[in-house]
Every structure is written in structure tokens, then in C-alpha cells.
């Protein structure tokens, strides 16, 4: 009898397992409309317009896939997405969505209202990159010409993945965004994208960033400013520093960033908060357009000093600008303070914006020239 009971119990448990678990929906691949990316606009009537780039797979042996744009309108994002069925006939499949492009209106109005469904929904993954469109509408970006990839959203995803070698735009995906949004004192930046006219064809280009205050866009950063921002955030992994006449050269030279380590140290001096930013970058001379000799130790030292000074100046200017104009902590100073001194942080966290605006920042940049690649002198005619 006991054995019988045990058998019955295990059967009941087993059957319950079957019905309580997920994964019930059997769907064939060809019934799915794979969404590669989405652009979100908001019209004057308060309705959202979502433009999705859908991967078009044709059955021919030609593996090259194309995409088409489908626009849908609705009162909310989900409403708009579901309205899409009446256009495509297939259910949109969002798991492989790579980018979400937000228009200026949407970004200024508040991003969370739009991105809530992206973060909440189980089908959409957290790796969706958020982009800010500097064009009039977000849709225009997806309408741009294709370059290497036939699907523009995937191209944008690739650009952002390799952006670390360029350091001209941050990379913010849904996970970063939701973390930074919920962290007190930290503000996030969203990479900006615009269409660039290259010989008549409009090509999407990712450069610069949008400054967010809470979840609202308050300003924009240029390419070089973004690089300086990334220096402070310790997110520079590569990129090029171009030095020109401003450091006393006759012709521009390019320094490639091999690596960078930035330390932000919060210091409390006589009750006043001070942040020490120590930038330590290693670069290599990769291109010399003039014919200055850098094999000379003195010349290298001069170059290092001038480059350090230039970087330091730029970063200082950026921090001052952000402090005075926006008062939004995109440098993650608050986070550093919390890590270092939790008590101090607790005492200032409620009025962090004000504290941030008034805190003193001391920037110390050091650039080391490691080598000059394969050549040790400049190319000279007949030399």
C-alpha cells in the first residue's frame, strides 16, 4: 500500500511538472518575423509609431538576407507592436532584436515609459542596444543606406561592439541602462546616431552621446567630448588621439591608444568633497605626417607632456561643463564615493546633484608613448 502511494505520488508530481513549466509554444522558424531592430517615434497626436526592421529570409540558396521596414501605430508600445500582426500576418519575434532607436521627442519625454516593455517582456533580451537618433525621427536611421551589413540594425550592433576601438560613443544596452537608471547619483549616457551624407547616400553613423538626467535627455555630447567622458569612466580601450599644431607640431601625428586605466578617488578635505581623476594612458605613435624625429628621448617626453596636458585640459573642461550646465553625474563619481566611503555617501546622496555641481575635481592625465610601431624615424625622400 505504501509503495502504491509512492508510485501515485510520483506520477502526480511528474504530471504537475509537465503543466507548470513554460515552453509550450511550438512555432516553426518560418512562421516568425525576426525583428532585427526597432525605431520608436512619437507623433504629435501622442501615438507611438514603431518602425521595426524585419529580416526577410528567402528560400533561395543565396544566403544574403535583406530586410524590410514595417511601421505600426498604437497608444502604447505593446499596442503598436500587436497592431503589427495586422500588417505582417506573422507574430513579430523579438528575441533577436539588437537595437532600439529612440527619437528626440521620446528621449526628452522620458525613456522609461518606452523601454519599460523592453525590459519587462520575457521575449526581448537585455542585450538590446539603446540608441538616440539625432535626426528628426528615429525611423530615418533605419531608412539609411546599408554599408557592410545588409541589415542595418545588425550593422549598428556591430558598430557598437567595435566602438571600444574608437571610443567615440558609449555602448549602453538595456541591462546597463536599467542598472544605471536605478543607481542613485549615476546618470547614464546613450550613444547617438545620425545620418551622414557620404557622396549622396545617407549612411547611419554612431558618434557622440546623449546626456540623460534620470530618464530624460537633457543634452548632447560631441565625438571628442564623448571620448573624454569615456576616459573618466574608464571605458577607453582603444582609439586615436590626434595631436596637431596645438602642441607645437608642424604636422599632425596620430597616437593609437593601447590601453588606459583611470582611477577616480574621492577625497574629503576639510568637509569638502574632492575627486581626483588619474588618467593613465599608453599610446603608440602610429602615424607621423610631418618629419619630426621622435626617436629622440626629449622629443618623446615633450610629446608625452603636451599630450597629457591637452587631455587633462579637455577632460577638465568637459567636467566643468557638465557640472555647470547639466548637474548630472555621468562620470559615476557618486558610485565611486559609495564604494569608498559609504557613510559620506549616505549623508550626501539625497542632495547629490547639488554636491556634484559644487565638488572640486582634480584631473591628472599621464600619457605614455610606448613605441613608434615598425619605423624608428620618419620617411624621408632620399634620406
Amino acid at each position: 500500500m505504501k509503495k502504491f502511494k509512492r508510485v501515485v505520488m510520483s506520477i502526480i508530481i511528474f504530471i504537475n511538472l509537465l503543466f507548470t513549466a513554460g515552453c509550450w509554444n511550438y512555432r516553426e522558424l518560418d512562421d516568425l518575423a525576426i525583428v532585427a531592430g526597432a525605431a520608436i517615434d512619437k507623433g504629435a497626436d501622442g501615438q507611438y509609431t514603431i518602425t521595426t526592421e524585419i529580416v526577410e529570409v528567402d528560400g533561395s540558396n543565396d544566403t544574403k538576407s535583406t530586410s524590410k521596414l514595417v511601421s505600426m501605430r498604437g497608444k502604447t508600445i505593446l499596442d503598436a507592436i500587436r497592431n503589427g500582426i495586422s500588417v505582417t500576418g506573422k507574430k513579430l519575434y523579438w528575441s533577436h532584436c539588437k537595437v532600439a532607436i529612440l527619437s528626440k521627442e521620446v528621449a526628452e519625454e522620458g525613456v522609461t515609459t518606452v523601454l519599460d516593455i523592453f525590459i519587462r517582456d520575457a521575449e526581448i533580451r537585455n542585450v538590446v542596444n539603446i540608441l538616440y537618433s539625432q535626426q528628426d525621427t528615429a525611423r530615418e536611421i533605419l531608412e539609411g543606406q546599408q554599408t557592410t551589413e545588409s541589415i542595418k540594425s545588425f550593422a549598428l550592433d556591430k558598430i557598437l561592439k567595435n566602438e571600444t576601438r574608437l571610443s567615440k560613443a558609449p555602448k549602453t544596452d538595456l541591462l546597463d541602462f536599467s542598472i544605471e537608471l536605478q543607481t542613485k547619483g549615476t546618470s547614464t549616457v546613450i550613444p547617438a546616431v545620425h545620418l551622414e551624407d557620404v557622396k549622396g547616400s545617407m549612411i547611419p553613423r554612431v558618434a557622440g552621446a546623449a546626456i540623460m538626467k534620470n530618464d530624460k535627455m537633457v543634452g548632447e555630447l560631441g565625438e571628442e567630448e564623448t571620448k573624454d567622458l569615456l576616459f573618466v569612466r574608464n571605458e577607453v580601450k582603444g582609439g586615436v588621439l590626434v595631436r596637431d599644431k596645438e602642441v607645437g607640431l608642424s604636422a599632425p601625428i596620430s597616437l593609437e591608444i593601447f590601453g588606459n586605466k583611470t582611477k577616480v578617488k574621492p577625497v574629503v578635505e576639510s568637509g569638502k568633497l574632492k575627486f581626483k581623476v588619474e588618467i593613465d594612458a599608453t599610446v603608440g605613435i602610429d602615424e607621423i605626417e610631418g618629419n619630426e624625429n621622435f626617436i629622440d628621448d626629449n622629443a618623446v617626453k615633450r610629446l608625452e607632456a603636451s599630450t597629457s596636458k591637452e587631455t587633462q585640459k579637455n577632460v577638465e573642461e568637459l567636467i566643468k561643463k557638465i557640472q555647470s550646465e547639466y548637474g548630472t553625474d555621468i562620470f559615476k563619481f557618486g558610485e565611486k564615493l559609495r564604494e569608498k566611503d559609504i557613510n559620506k555617501w549616505k549623508s550626501v546622496s539625497d542632495k547629490w546633484e547639488e554636491v556634484f555641481r559644487n565638488s572640486e575635481v582634480d584631473v591628472d592625465a599621464r600619457v605614455h608613448v610606448k613605441n613608434s610601431a615598425l619605423l624608428y624615424k620618419t620617411l624621408k625622400k632620399g634620406g
Binding site: 509537465l18 522558424l29 529580416v55 528567402d58 538576407s65 533577436h96 533580451r125
Partner: protein, 537 residues
Amino acid sequence: MQITIANIKNLIGDDFMYKKGSKKYKMNHPENSVGQAGTSPQTKNLTASLEENISLFKNIFKDDQTLVTREFQNKCVKEAKCCIVYISGMINTEVVNENIIQPVLRDNLSEDIDVKNLLEALMKKVIVSNNVKIETDINKMVSSIISGDTLFILEGYDKCLVIGSQGWEKRSIMEPESSKVVRGPREGFTESLMVNLSLIRRKIQNPDLKFKFREMGERTHTSTCICYVEGLAIEEVLTELEQRLNKIKIDGILDSGYIQELIKDAPYSPFETVGAFERPDVVASKLLEGRVALFVDGSPFVLTVPFLGVENFQASEDYYNNYIFANINRLIRGFTAVTSTTIPAIFLALVTYHQEMLPTPLLISISSSRQGVPFPTSLSLFIMLFIFDILREVGTRMPGPVGQAVNIVGTLVLGQAAVQAKLVSAPVIIVTALTGITTLINMNIIGSTIVFRTFYLLGASFLGIYGVLMCIIVMYLHMMSIRSFGIPYMMNSTRAKNHDGQDAWIRAPWWDMTLRPKIYSKDLTRQVSNKKNGKNK
């Protein structure tokens, strides 16, 4: 190193062997009762009259024209009027002619022959044979004739001589087709029991190697032989095997497969719990590990018990090759055993339930190959795997010359054309091919592979990865629950303790395998540690 059997019993406690009165270890194979089988026993006995005796045998073998009787008489001793009875085709004619008929017929027997006790005198002084005995029981005479012996009947005696004269056509010793090796002995068992026993005897030249004959099959009288090494084999296994064999009452045994299935512990399981091997070196190594072997006349496959799960992945070559290479091969076998069952199920689960788990480019390329294919992925997988099994079966059964046709049909028509005609998508073909190839690596578990592959695929088509995992759990529960002669089927693969795991998923180097597997051998010492032999030189 003195580990006694009692210690081992304590070591694994209740799991060990057979406890009296426990239901767990009850023989649960169906009782076999064979109506009124067997040769009908003869009631008449031999008489003193030669003629009557001959007609008695002719009567017993009525309508059997292979029975030969040959009467002859010595030229000097008139009392030596005799007759030989044999079955043509079963005897060695040379032996009968030169060693029986010729001496009795030609020689001058009068000189030193004791006429009063002629039969014994003939046996002792005239007949040239290594195997002669006097027989009085008519039933034994009949079975001797059947097995190829020659009966020598003498006028005036109610008993006869049984002279060993067996000799029939045998297959010579060849390399077994089922398990070929690059390195290692090339000989394989044949259909002849005695030849097989000699192959083992030649490998283990030790009087401890015991052979116990028994006759099985009520009508076929197939001789079988239990073989073990005394001092290594555990008595419990031996007695259990004998008990199970005693219970078999079947009319005929034509191959060891009959017995394999009849003495199996888990009769409904797709897994074999009795091993069958075609190579003498393998069986010899099993005997040296303390297993018990069962030879069946007429079958080149020798059974060994107990048989554990890991033995499916042990090839004889593993022990002859460099251990690193052997381990690679063994891992491949284990890996393919897993993949051959799970690949189609996981593929199906990924493309129909969990598309988010596929990398985007892969998703797009699979999706593009599915465009315009009418059948659901699950159905096309079932169909293609079924077709592959058809092709495999054709490949095994077909006569050699038609092989080309099967290849062309299989590869071209079913593979290429089906994709081009958009009946199935290309990834399905690839998955089928991969599954097929990996299935063929482990030919000895192909049955269970096909069963569980289908089972997993069903799970995947209803519940995705979740279903596959549930099916895998069910399979493992089953594998963990079955036993072979009281020893858990997965014993060595789950215990890495001491020396048990040395020859399971990996093959340890020979200098490290100093002990035998603890669980089925009595004397554990395999070799005195000689690890340093090579190192100190």
C-alpha cells in the same frame, strides 16, 4: 591487499548480490515450459544378437537415411563379428576406416586375443582411438551417434563401444567482422564450441581455468560451457548463473542470443545486462577480471556476466594502445553515445521552442533553409531518421553487389534531391547524418540508442528542451535501477573510488591498474605495483 568477499559485502551493504527472500533479486524472466519436448526415451536395450541390435538402431532412426551400418568380420577370429553404426557427415571417415575397420578387419587377432572377453580386448588392444568407452545405456548410445561418435557392436554382447570419431566441416578461425582492430590479436571465435574453448585455454594456461559443460535445449541438445577462473570469480554469480540456466526449458538454442535474453535481469529493458563478445582476448580479459563466461555451441558470441554499462564503451584495442590515445578513443565513444541520442532532440527543441538560444546568424540561415518546406521540423526529423534506419538495415542485409544502388539512393535521392525539392530543410539532413554516423560508432548499443533517440525526440516535440531533460532523467533513472547479476549496471561509471573508476570512463595506464575491479572479483591483486620500473632507468 587482503580484501575478502565479506569486506566487499560490508562495503556496499544491501546493494550486494542476492538476499534470500528479497523480491528485488527474484528471477523475473518468464518461466519457460516446453510442452513435451526432448527425445523420447528408448525402453528397449541391447541384446546379445547383433542382428537384433542393428535392427533396433534402424528402428530408432527410422526414416533417417543418414544412419549408416556396416557389418564386418575378422578373418581369423570368427567370434569377432561386428558392426559399426554412425551418421554419415558427422564422422571423420579416415578415423573410422583406418582406426576401427582396418585393425579389426585385417589384422590377425588370434595371437593374443582373449576370446572370452572379446569386446574389452578389442577396445584395449585393437581399436586405435583416443576416446573409446563401453556403453550399456541405449539412450546415451543414441545421443553419441547423433553427436558424431561411432558405435561398435559385437555379436554376443549387450553392450557396445562408443568410439569418438567426430569430424565435420568447420569454419576456420577468422578475424571477427563485428569488432575489428588495428592493434591486437586477429582471431575470433568460431561456431565450434571446442575450438572456442581451446582459444581461451591457449590464452589462460592455468589449471584454475574451469570448464563446466551442460546440455541445453530439449530438442537441440546444444552443448554449452560455463567457464571461469577459480579464485577470481565470485561464487554467488556462478551459482546464480547456474540457477538461471537450470530454469531455462526451451526446445532449441541456436545462438547464445537465446540464452542472453532468457537470463537477462531486466527483461523489458533495451539495455543488455549480459555481454556478448566475439573476441577470445576480450573474453579472456573478462575472465581475468572475475567474470563468468558462457560458451554456446554453434555461436561465435560468448556471453559474460556480470555485464556493466561501461563495458559498452571499452574496446579491446584500448588496452593495447598507448593509454592517452586509448582515452581519446574512449571519450569519443562516450561522447557519441550521448550525441547520437540527443542531437536531433536538441536541434528540434532549439528551432521550434527556444529560438532565442540560437545565435542570430544561425537562426537566419536555418530560417532561410526552412522557407517553403511543407512539413513541420519534428515530422521531417522523424521521417529522415526512420529513413536512415531503413538504409542502415538495408546496408546490413543486402547482398554485396547491390550496395552501390543503396548508396546512390541514400545519398543522392534522399539527401540532395529532398533538399532541392524542398521536402526537408538542409539542417535536418545534416542533423540526421550526424546522428546516423554517431550511432554507428557504438554498434553494440544501437538498439537502445534508437529507442532513446526516438523517446527524446518525442519529448522535444512536445515540450522542448524541458521535455528532453525529463526524458534524459527517465533514462538515467532506468539505467541506475537495473542490475546485472546483482551488480548495479552503472556501478563503475558512478564510483570513482579506489580502483573502480580506473577502467570506466577513462582507461588508466597499465602501471597504475594494480587492482582488479572490486565488485566482481575475489582476488583483487592484478599486478604488483611496478610504476617505478620504467622511471628509474
